[in-house]
């Protein structure tokens, strides 16, 4: 919604300040998206009166003018055909700057000096007319600043109006809010040139049929059209609008069409009431029937589009065919044209739901439907018709034929809401004096009557958002001003909701994985179909984003490829996020996962190490181990068909580490990754073991393992056979190649023996080691490597 500061000022009868008004509107809830000064660039332009026009001696199309712009008369060379002595025009003296930035200089044109410029509307940004210079109808003395002589300097507010406030889609509604704060009443300004006598007020019809100036009006779709008022104006002269009307519309960015259309638009933006003007001569009958469209009916709307209608839509028809879509757009056939002399004015209240249904079925939205579907004032319909008639008579002439009609078969009862003083304090935290509450609500158009401990508040029809006590409390807070409420911290009770365990686990995972050198990534959970059980979005933005992910790794792999495209070889990312699985007839199953991807150098290159090794699968396993330790109690890792598989306590595969397929450039390192479901937590808080006081004894053994024998299996045997003296063991070397048989390898373990509380004897160690070696040979035929 665009609003003009000057327009608002007129409604409130006070000169409003632009910056202050912006702040006030903001604090009233009408967000100001932009504040645009209009015609501020015309400050140098003055009124110039042409005293004398002579032919330019050296050019056929130029004239030599003497211009009074205050002070000494100026000699000006002019190229406009319409320049005439005794007339006044905008004049840019030497040194003046035009809105577009052009600086006017003393110039010599074909041998004659020119000391300024007479300007066209286009040069001043006042219109598209470039047929000559702009003739001014002003009594202001020559030399007066144009901005002081003409009411064109203005400020345009671009407002963001929330959907609950259709009343703010008009200057009157905005002014009413401002007035409640400024303690000023809103009064519609007198229309220049309006007839002294007010037009007759619309007469209420009996039932759903009436007559306006001899034209029968029938409302058949009573639920779609709650109220229909109309008037017939005859002898109207369609032509250009007067300057004040054009300026007003221009100030809010609306284009001037002709006086009739401009008048209806003016009413729309002034009071929020859409008005439609039909060319009476084009209406068959002539008659007006408000009804549902018939199956197969079609209509060419004002925008020139041929539209198919159906019975879900409310239309305005003449005696035979639909001639407009109710509250959305008129028809091209009955549009007012230059030849129009008789006009039927429509001022109606269409039901918001039905209007919305109609305009959605039409697949369009207009200024009119935007207001009807949010709800306009159904009480003021006849007044607004009267205002439209007055305006039309003022700008287009003519007279009202007969008495306007008001078809309102089923009047909408007023809404009364009860408001308790105590409840205001309960919600707002501050006692508001009864008098203040009454003043605020009255200023907003409510009728307030005290009743015991509460107020009976009849809300204005222009405010469909006010239906409950809480709605009125918000109004009180809004007009009192949110900034006038205190913000001191008051005592509170601790809540009963525990911290979500998954959030704690996620935080521990983030610590663990960043410690391993992985950056946290966040990818979009929407992607292409990856799994038959992926839930599908019915209205995706594209096929590539039509499914919810079932795994995190594919998204992370795309991130790696993105880095590769940017020539980044070292990529280490992890993500904690949700994966989804479709379930019949209920919400998709969701699972929190953690995944990581690693490629490139294992550590930052260092001068002491000419070739840094690349990350490999064992680095991915390290990430997986760290994640499992934090996230998943009782899980085990074991080799799978590809890479490593995580099984939860129930034996279900819940994660993996593997080499990953990717679109890998030749220079990139292998890509490895891991992913695992996040449970409710991993290792519990440790119970510390006493630190050993006795010395340990170490032994190294190298065993030759045949192909297919896993180190972990050998270790299990070594550990159980060696007994409790074996504190720990780990492989520290692996060797393949000559002289070992093909396929076999030598794995060297370091074994650490210790007896708590005493020093081990050599022979005990020796015995334990021998038991272990004997057992592993018996089980797997594995022997020590001959040295």
């Amino acid at each position: 919604m665009n609003a003009s500061l000057r327009w608002l000022s007129d409604l409130l009868g006070v000169e409003l300040d632009a910056a202050l008004t912006r702040d006030r509107l903001t604090m009233l809830g009408a967000g100001v998206e932009a504040l645009e000064p209009l015609h501020g660039g015309l400050g140098d332009i003055v009124i110039g009166e042409v005293l004398e026009v002579r032919r330019h001696p050296n050019a056929d199309r130029l004239t030599l003018c003497l211009v009074d712009a205050g002070g000494q008369a100026k000699r000006v060379v002019c190229g406009a055909a319409n320049v005439a002595a005794g007339r006044r025009y905008p004049f840019a003296p030497v040194g003046a700057r035009l809105p577009e930035g052009l600086m006017i200089e003393r110039r010599t044109i074909r041998g004659e000096v020119s000391e300024g410029m007479l300007c066209s509307a286009r040069e001043l940004g006042l219109g598209d007319d470039q047929e000559g210079i702009l003739e001014l109808d002003t009594a202001a003395a020559p030399g007066t600043r144009l901005l002081d002589a003409l009411p064109i300097a203005d400020t345009r507010f671009v407002l963001e109006i929330t959907p609950n406030r259709p009343d703010l889609l008009s200057h009157q509604g905005i002014a009413r809010d401002l007035g409640a704060v400024l303690m000023r009443a809103v009064k519609l300004p007198v229309i220049p040139g309006a007839p002294a006598q007010r037009p007759p007020r619309a007469a209420r019809a009996r039932g759903a049929r009436g007559d306006a100036g001899g034209v029968p009006i029938a409302v058949e779709d009573v639920s779609g059209c709650r109220r229909y008022t109309a008037a017939v104006l005859r002898g109207v002269g369609v032509g250009p609008s007067p300057a004040w009307l054009r300026n007003r519309l221009a100030a809010i960015g609306a284009r001037s069409v002709n006086n009739v259309v401009d008048a209806t638009n003016y009413i729309l933006f002034e009071v929020g009431q859409p008005i439609h003007a039909f060319d009476l001569a084009k209406l068959r009958g002539p008659a007006i029937v408000v009804r549902r469209a018939r199956a197969g009916e079609a209509l060419t709307t004002l925008d020139g589009v041929r539209r198919r209608l159906d019975p879900s839509m409310t239309v305005i028809a003449d005696a035979e065919v639909a001639t407009g879509v109710a509250g959305v757009m008129g028809g091209a056939e009955s549009e007012v044209s230059a030849a129009t002399t008789d006009v039927l004015l429509e001022c109606a209240y269409f039901d918001p739901r039905q209007n919305r249904a109609t305009r959605r079925a039409m697949g369009m939205s207009t200024e009119a439907s935007y207001r009807f579907e949010r709800g306009i004032d159904h009480d003021a319909t006849p007044e607004y018709l009267g205002r439209a008639i007055e305006l039309l008579l003022a700008v287009a002439g003519g007279h009202v034929d007969g008495v306007p009609v008001d078809v309102y078969p089923d009047p909408i009862p007023p809404t009364t809401v009860f408001l308790r003083d105590r409840r205001i304090a309960d919600i707002l935290g501050v006692e508001i004096p009864r008098g203040e509450t009454e003043r605020v609500l009255t200023a907003l158009g409510c009728v307030v009557a005290p009743k015991h401990e509460r107020l009976a508040v009849q809300v204005p029809a222009a405010r469909p958002d006010l239906t409950r006590e809480i709605d009125l409390i918000e109004e009180v807070a809004r007009i009192v001003g949110y900034d006038r409420f205190p913000d001191d911290m008051r005592p509170y009770r601790i809540g009963v909701v525990p911290d979500a365990p998954s959030e704690r686990v996620a935080a521990r995972l983030r610590r663990a994985l960043t410690a391993l050198g992985l950056h946290e990534a966040m990818t979009s959970p929407l992607g292409p179909r990856a799994d038959p059980r992926s839930p599908e979005v019915l209205n995706p933005l594209s096929r590539e984003e039509a499914f919810l992910r079932s795994e995190l790794l594919p998204g992370l792999v795309r991130r790696v490829e993105h880095n590769w495209r940017l020539m980044q070889r070292d990529v280490r990312l992890f993500e904690i996020g949700t994966v989804f699985e479709r379930r019949e007839g209920e919400l998709p199953a969701e699972e929190m996962r953690v995944a990581g991807v690693l490629t490139g150098a294992r550590r930052p290159p260092h001068w002491s190490e000419p070739a840094t090794p690349d990350l490999d699968l064992f680095d991915a396993v390290a990430g997986l181990e760290a994640a499992v330790a934090v996230a998943l109690a009782g899980a085990v890792l074991e080799p799978g068909s590809v890479g490593l598989v995580v099984r939860d306590a129930g034996g279900r595969a819940v994660g993996r580490a593997a080499e990953l397929a990717a679109d890998r450039p030749a220079w990139a390192a292998p890509l490895v990754g891991f992913e695992v479901a996040v449970g409710t937590g991993g290792a519990p808080a440790p119970r510390v073991r006493p630190l050993p006081k006795s010395p340990a004894v170490e032994r190294d053994i190298a065993l030759v393992l045949p192909a297919g024998l896993r180190a972990a299996d050998v270790e299990t045997v070594l550990r159980s056979a060696a007994g409790p003296l074996l504190e720990r063991l780990w492989p520290f070397d692996e060797y393949r190649g000559a002289p070992l048989p093909a396929g076999s390898r030598s794995v060297a373990w370091r074994l650490v023996f210790r007896a708590p509380e005493r020093t081990l004897r050599e022979v005990e160690v020796e015995a334990a080691l021998q038991r272990a070696l004997t057992e592993v040979e018996a089980r797997y035929g594995v022997r020590r490597r001959a040295s």
Binding site: I473, A521, T523, P588
Partner: protein, 347 residues
């Protein structure tokens, strides 16, 4: 085995450990030569002395001690040789290291900037007694709209362009359905922050993403008022943006709160004088908030005459962009290592 032999074995182990430690600590060829003499020297080497004394032991002890001593000798010999190889060529003195050369660094990971914001928001509200509560990203229309007082077919639905899953299910357009879930799971007093991923049907552009995070907070109890809302959110703003930041609340509209408010802080770029970032207003919108609408309480079976509450929702993606100067929201989804490297320190 006799006592003396066990003692000798222990002494031998200690000697071996001491020698290994000293070899590892030794710097320079001379030091290594000295150690070789000390332990393995033909005349006065300490290990040599033990080996020389072997014949005096009884056969069992001789075998045990002998094996251990020979193993120790081999180990020390190996270590010494390795240390000597590692030294610079013979004759040159070990140079002093140039400590202006880069350190031996490890990769360090960084948290996502959105995580940094979410964690800080939740931590600040944690100071006010708020716990963290989470819930599903796929939701019912009832939890996402109806129970939150969105009238069906109302224009306010157009504020949320929704991804639908069919059968009354959708991807949540905000974290507010968690208000419904937490109030159905717990009776007041409730004080929770609720972070999570949300979805709207906006294609990726510099300021939109089809998936984005939100943090919601909800406080419900007897006697909670608009003053508590202002106090809590002002506290948050001062902790998050700095103690002197100016804050204002202006009326707004959300179907599930009334009165509703937008909280704005003075523009972080121009500090209130007006600039393109704040569209000349000097203020920046930070979050939407309001008193829980009585219809929401009705929907979850909480008595609105007894309980009142406030709620807010904000966008950590936008907060992260503001705080860290990220010009384009898409950067937050790209996983560019050079972007995330910048969050290793100070994150």
């Amino acid at each position: 085995m006799s006592g003396p032999s066990a003692e000798q074995l222990a002494a031998l182990a200690a000697l071996r450990a001491e020698a290994e430690a000293r070899v590892r600590a030794a710097r320079g060829r001379d030091a290594l030569q000295q150690l070789r003499t000390d332990y393995l020297g033909r005349k006065a080497g300490r290990l040599t002395a033990i080996l020389k004394g072997l014949p005096a032991l009884d056969p069992d002890a001789r075998r045990a001690v002998g094996e251990a001593a020979n193993a120790a000798k081999a180990a020390i010999e190996t270590l010494l040789e390795a240390a000597e190889r590692a030294l610079a060529p013979a004759g040159s003195e070990a140079p002093r290291p140039d400590l202006t050369m880069p350190a031996r660094r490890q990769w360090r990971g960084a948290l996502h900037p959105v995580t940094l914001v979410v964690d800080e928001v939740c931590a600040i509200f944690g100071e006010l007694g708020f716990t963290r509560y989470v819930g599903p990203e796929a939701e019912t229309e009832r939890n996402n709209f109806t129970a939150l007082n969105f009238p069906p077919e109302h224009p306010s639905l157009e504020m949320h362009d929704t991804f639908y899953l069919g059968e009354g299910m959708l991807l949540r357009t905000h974290t507010s359905p968690l208000q419904i879930r937490v109030m159905e799971a717990y009776r007041p007093p409730i004080r929770v922050t609720m972070p999570g991923m949300c979805y709207r049907r906006d294609p990726f552009d510099p300021s939109h993403a089809p998936a984005f995070s939100q943090v919601e907070a909800l406080a419900v109890d007897e006697g909670i008022t608009f003053v508590d809302l202002k106090a809590s959110l002002t506290y948050f703003a001062r902790r998050f943006f700095g103690p002197s930041v100016r804050v204002r609340f202006r009326p707004s509209f959300f179907p599930f709160t009334e009165p509703s408010a937008d909280m704005e802080v003075e523009c972080l770029i121009c500090h209130g004088t007006g600039c393109p970032a704040c569209k000349g207003s000097g203020w920046m919108e930070i979050l939407g908030a309001g008193m829980v609408d009585p219809n929401v309480f009705e929907a979850v079976g909480v008595d609105p005459e007894r309980y009142t509450g406030w709620a807010f929702g904000m966008g950590p993606h936008r907060m992260a962009m503001l705080r860290y100067g990220v010009p384009d929201i898409r950067v937050l989804f790209e996983g560019d290592m050079r972007f995330h490297d910048q969050f290793v320190d100070g994150g």
